[in-house]
Symmetry: none
């Protein structure tokens, strides 16, 4: 009689209105300080602290300390998915997205994560590689390079067979926080970013983690991966994103 309550306890964590409000504030994938979550949920700081501790203990949140602030964020994409599914049952209308922040948009679009490419560009390119069969799921978080991929990377000047594997093999998936999906990481990810910069596809302005794509880069991505430039910030873009997010399934 004791294996089931797992789902009951997980549900109980979300069942409280204050906790639910906090979780919904966090579905944007960003980290928020405790005070902000308390205010947003309409409860006192003490109450919020208690709630956040429970969510943390329940594995729904993770926390990061920075000075006297504590930044809470959703523990992973499974939690996001869970919240979306919860929102999709019952009479409640699906959730909405809020206005984007201009300053963050650039980083959100393309940036370095350690030494590989992240952001919506990183996720999109990785997905394109998977779609073309240049990359495939391996064991766990690992990614493997099928024969077609070895050839393709070879054309770019990357000899996959000569890349020394790391702990998770030659490539692995790194969870992208802004996109809540995976992007290419590991030795192959590092070499790919470096090679793409050498080829003049990307430019890395100093003193920022942002990555710019050159016109030549867009042309190459279209030609090699059938990956087209998304029209960021345009009305149709906002419409598309809002619309898609409105229907989780």
């Amino acid at each position: 009689m004791n294996p089931q309550p797992a789902i009951a306890s997980a549900a109980a964590l979300i069942a409280d209105p204050a906790r639910a409000a906090m979780l919904i504030m966090l579905v944007d994938g960003r980290a928020h300080p405790a005070g902000e979550l308390a205010y947003g949920a309409g409860v006192s700081a003490q109450t919020a602290s208690s709630h956040l501790a429970k969510l943390l203990d329940g594995g729904l949140l993770s926390v990061e300390r920075d000075g006297r602030h504590r930044y809470y964020r959703l523990a992973g994409p499974r939690v996001v998915s869970l919240l979306e599914h919860l929102a999709s049952v019952g009479p409640g209308e699906p959730m909405r997205r809020r206005a984007p922040n201009r300053a963050l948009e650039r980083l959100r679009f393309a940036r370095c994560c350690y030494d590989h490419l992240a952001g919506s560009l990183g996720v999109g390119i990785t997905k394109a590689m998977l779609r073309h069969g240049y990359l495939a799921q391996g064991e766990g978080k690992a990614l493997v390079v099928p024969p077609a991929g070895v050839e393709w990377f070879g054309h770019l000047g990357l000899d996959v067979d000569r890349i020394t594997p790391g702990r998770h093999g030659i490539a692995c998936q790194c969870l992208d926080w802004t996109e809540r999906e995976h992007h290419l990481a590991g030795p192959l990810g590092t070499h790919f970013l470096e090679r793409a910069c050498d080829l003049g596809w990307f430019a890395r302005p100093p003193s920022t983690r942002a990555v710019d794509v050159t016109p030549k880069g867009w042309h190459a991505l279209k030609a090699h991966l059938d990956f087209e430039r998304p029209n960021i910030g345009t009305k149709s873009d906002l419409f598309n994103r809002g619309f898609r997010l409105g229907h989780p399934r």
Copy 2:
């Protein structure tokens, strides 16, 4: 401020241990009478009735009257999906160490989920397809078939280009209840199971959702996907599975 409570109230419905137990009893997709659910949840009939009324009102269940019985069932696949996601969060809860139930073991190994293959066999085959590049991650839950996959499915007698896509494309990932990983679903999943049965790889005994693999099937899986028969029920199997289950991630 008020669109959020929707998810809180939905979660509250599942948060009660007795209700959660009933819902879990219902994930098999069948309808159960109120008394049986009460007994299974370990509560009195009155209490169960109250719970069932709440679940019904919340849209998680539907009911069907037959004589003096009332048969309750999950309201739809969205509820199943929601429950599965709830079960998948948290710290990979310790799998129950219950007595080895032969009939359940069989279902756990291979069964039909609606009209496609599930269980450890379904997950294993799907992972093998991904590993070989016959299948690749698409947008969201979608799966796509790279050129190498089109050719491979073609050899099996499945013309991928002629399969009409559903809402989520030609194939998508379905979270496997027992394995906590994804298996192949969608139109391609349906056709694959059907084709494999036609080829004599699988057998589907009547009046059960279990799926048996024929010797010919094992041989084919090894040849086509390098997928070998796990040694079910042997000491080393129990050891291996116990060991793996002890380390969820």
